[in-house]
């Protein structure tokens, strides 16, 4: 064959492998879903995608599979860039055998994962698959296992992002679950271990796919997803934005932004109500201190009593963690501890300094909490903060009581700098509760118990419900006016740039999960 004929033959093979099957493409479009290739093009910078393993074929010869030719074996893999940041990417193609996972399909994924780990670049996986390719039997399971193994090896080495754009059911859900960030889209994403049919057969309970494992459920109730979008286009914008906040790998810091505009939000003193029992939205505080008031919240819909997310200070990425008084009074509980602990560990793994804002009355009381293991889950937060060696800066805004005070990155868990506003109340418990316990006998014996109790609450408030006892003991480094917050944070972050905190050598810790 002459070269021109070989080139023609190459073009024909390429076209055959990339042309979508018209009927399958029509079905995909009818569900409001883009094709796998369109998705990759929409996420990556124009012209940056380079595809590999286009001509990989499956080797299954059972159940008629020997007659089936599956282009790319149902998955597209390659590398490219997002806003100039290099990434490895794969996208399962539902139009090819329902995106089902066989061994060749899985090996394409594990190959691109191995590349991403070696090259030190983030991995993006787009999941849209009916599940295991049953004809391939245990080879299909082997494929899943090899992916999970690499997800775990890559954890804390490169950022891993999963985008769920179709069904992701059974064993398949465990790859996203092992990655750092899961993106879902309303009406399109479906995640579950066992589907509605099985649940109906085994338990007799009826539930729709959407109610069982739709995007809203995974974002709001289970906490499996981190970002929720109304459409695929909105989802891709979220992915791009996230990539700008995080580093390529654990040996680097996130790329700095040259511009570090001042916050556009209003003055901090107006945000916090003077009465300790009035709620406010703590995100207003975060936006009032970070560059350009640009805060990217993670898991906004789940466990909203704690807020976590990324922002920049002087162009550098920071991870922010804050109690949210507007939801459940900002208490710590099972879910909020889980959520914050995971986020803190991501930031620590990828050299992102932590800034914590504290305003909480303590842990949520309740039988359901105790029985759900709030001890075990709450311990994750203590572990994550204590384990983190990135710069840790804490600002106590208002209430910091009891165990909650300790847990929220106190000096005692290794905070490098602890600042408190003058309205901070740092004490073992609220004045009411404390006075009732300390003066229980005297209150009962007093001529006017209620007046005596009020007097003691007042005394306790004046003596302990302030930042000055903590400051006198050096647990707080500086009591600062709210308007000084950004200045103190910028300075603390700048002088912490080269922070090194060696720890005793060990294989790994044993966190309570």
């Amino acid at each position: 064959m002459s070269l021109p004929r070989k080139l023609k033959d190459h073009a024909a093979r390429q076209a055959e492998a990339t042309e979508p099957h018209p009927e399958a493409a029509r079905k995909q479009a009818a569900q409001g879903k883009l094709l796998a290739r369109e998705r990759i093009t929409a996420i990556l910078d124009p012209g940056s995608f380079h595809e590999y393993d286009l001509f990989v074929e499956h080797r299954c010869s059972d159940f008629g599979m020997e007659k089936k030719q599956l282009p790319g074996d149902g998955v597209i893999t390659g590398t490219g860039a997002i806003l100039g940041h290099p990434v490895a990417i794969y996208a399962q193609d539902f139009t090819v055998a329902g995106g089902s996972l066989g061994l060749a399909h899985a090996r394409k994924i594990t190959k691109i994962m191995d590349h991403a780990i070696k090259l030190g670049i983030p991995l993006i996986g787009i999941n849209d698959s009916g599940g295991a390719r049953i004809q391939e039997g245990v080879n299909s399971l082997a494929g899943y296992g090899e992916i999970f193994y690499r997800n775990t090896l890559a954890s804390g080495v490169i950022p891993q992002i999963s985008i769920i754009l179709g069904p992701c059911a059974g064993g398949a859900v465990y790859s996203p679950a092992l990655t750092d960030f899961v993106f879902v889209v309303d009406q399109i994403s479906k995640m579950f271990i066992t589907g509605p049919e099985v649940i109906k057969t085994v338990l007799g309970e009826e539930i729709s796919m959407e109610d069982l494992g739709g995007a809203r459920v995974q974002s709001e109730i289970s906490g499996n997803a981190h970002f929720y979008a109304g459409s695929e286009a909105e989802c891709f914008e979220q992915v791009k934005r996230l990539v700008t906040f995080i580093p390529w790998n654990n040996r680097k810091k996130a790329d700095p932004f040259n511009a570090s505009p001042s916050p556009t939000e209003e003055d901090l003193e107006r945000i916090i109500p003077s009465e300790a029992h009035r709620p406010y939205d703590v995100r207003d505080v975060l936006r009032a201190v970070c560059d350009g008031s640009d805060f990217m919240e993670v898991q906004a819909l789940w466990a909203a009593n704690i807020v976590v997310g990324f922002a920049r200070m002087n162009g550098r990425t920071v991870g922010m963690v804050a109690n949210q008084p507007a939801v459940l009074a900002g208490v710590l509980d099972v879910d909020s501890s889980d959520k914050a602990a995971r986020f803190i560990r991501f930031c620590d793994a990828f050299n992102i300094p932590l800034v914590t804002f504290v305003d909480l009355p303590g842990y949520l009381p309740g039988v359901d909490q105790e029985h759900a293991g709030v001890i075990r889950h709450g311990a994750k937060l203590l572990y994550a903060y204590s384990e983190a060696t990135v710069p840790k800066i804490t600002v106590i805004l208002r209430k910091a009581y009891g165990g909650g005070y300790i847990a929220m990155c106190s000096r005692h868990l290794g905070a490098d700098f602890v600042f408190a506003w003058p309205c901070a109340e740092i004490a073992v418990m609220g004045p009411e509760g404390a006075a009732n316990i300390i003066f229980k006998g005297e209150i009962a014996a007093a001529a006017d118990p209620e007046a005596f109790r009020k007097q003691k609450v007042q005394e306790y408030t004046e003596k302990f419900a302030s930042p000055y006892v903590a400051a006198a003991n050096g647990h707080v480094d500086a009591v600062i006016a709210p308007r000084q917050t950004r200045d103190f944070l910028l300075h603390a972050l700048e002088i912490s740039e080269q922070k090194a905190e060696p720890r005793p050598a060990r294989k790994h810790g044993v966190p309570p999960f």
């Binding site: 085994v202 309970e205 029992h277 709620p279 459940l328 009074a329 900002g330 009355p361 309740g366 609220g430």
Partner: protein, 111 residues
Amino acid sequence: MTHSATHPSKPVRQSIALDGTVYETTLTKKYAQRKPFAPKDPSRLTAIIPGLILDLLVKPGDQVRSGQSLLVLEAMKMQNHIAAHDAGTIKAIHVASGDTVTKGQLLLEFQ
């Protein structure tokens, strides 16, 4: 009477059918006592946290918009404004100012 080490509470014998095969087994206490799934009724507003009703900001027949504060529930030393998830009309209010409510208690109903 002695308890087995693996089943501190009395085991409940049961069979479970998975993928067409019936397995004979015992159930965990948690599984045996689980509540079946019931879809959330958007017309009923229940307390998300135990506390004290401080103030009612609406009355039956009122039209409310999404996000509007309906009542103030004091819990964990915080005056929580409970907001409407959707626009609608208030059908009935089941609590009064000063009432102590438990988690999950019905507070008000929409039409």
